[in-house]
């Protein structure tokens, strides 16, 4: 029984995305394919799988990422697919707790990858907004001003997302002061 759900999660909501996928599995739907804002599920036993997402260092089809993915698969997990650099993994819940990271350092590195991705998106939006501002000054076209406004809103939105990731990173950092 195939089921397709359209849903969108922002970079900083990856934890919620994992929770949602686990909840779907608990309800008897396993994720079999992913696309931009599109999730395909098949029926499975309730709670059969647990899910983890990772923003990889390199594009998932590159050799480096392929090596990484096959290493993960050798440990009993399965690679489902990817959306841009985000890789989706599942593991049978019976095989115990599933996590990709077991220390602060690798979790912090993962957060840093998210932060650099968000920084690129932020700067790109900012530059486009600046470009639109220049057009507005030259032409006084209302549409340019509208685009500037849109760009500023996007920048603010992404900025808030960056603070959320940064907050989680700082929390990890402070714990790592005491524990390994």
């Amino acid at each position: 029984m195939r089921k397709v759900i359209k849903k969108w999660f922002w970079v900083w909501e990856f934890g919620d995305e994992e929770k949602w996928l686990n909840q779907m599995a608990n309800d008897g739907y396993e994720l079999v394919d992913v696309g931009f804002g599109r999730y395909t599920f098949d029926a499975c036993e309730k709670g059969e799988y647990s899910y983890k997402l990772e923003l990889l260092d390199h594009y998932p089809t590159s050799q480096k990422s392929q090596d990484y993915i096959s290493f993960i698969e050798e440990t009993g997990a399965n690679y489902i697919g990817h959306v841009s650099r985000w890789a989706y993994f599942k593991k049978k819940s019976d095989d115990g707790d599933f996590d990709l990271f077991s220390d602060y350092e690798s979790r912090v590195k993962h957060m840093n990858r998210m932060l650099s991705l968000l920084t690129i998106i932020f700067v790109a939006n900012f530059l486009v907004a600046c470009g639109n501002m220049t057009t507005y000054i030259a032409s006084k076209a209302h549409i340019s001003m509208f685009c500037v406004g849109l760009g500023v809103i996007m920048c603010l939105f992404i900025g808030i997302g960056m603070f959320k990731v940064l907050g989680k990173k700082m929390q990890l950092k402070s714990e790592s002061e005491l524990y390994e």
């Binding site: 990772e54 990484y68 096959s70 290493f71 993960i72 050798e74 440990t75 009993g76 997990a77 115990g96 707790d97 996590d99 990709l100 990271f101 077991s102 220390d103 350092e105 690798s106 590195k109 390994e180």
Partner: protein, 108 residues
Amino acid sequence: MANQQTQALTEAVFYILLSLKEPLHGYGIMQNVEMMSNGRVKLAAGTLYGAINTMLDKEWITSVNEEKNSRKKEYQITEIGLLMVNNEIKRLNELLENAQKFTGGKIK
């Protein structure tokens, strides 16, 4: 960075090194570490992958019998790796001796 000879190894790195007297692949390391620590230390695959690559770069471990067709890579400890284990044993002994002085040799 402080003198690397006296720096503490992470628990994960130490246990990975202790697992590689004989060649072993990634999943084998995870299972071995969990067994040695009576289930206390559970290495996650992504973290293990990062540690293995760093140790390969530093030549603390080496990748063995790498056949083109065999997907499962096996790793083994090197001379440098053994030296790192020995340094860590000295450091752990020092910690333990001082802790025993503190408690008078009794563990609650």
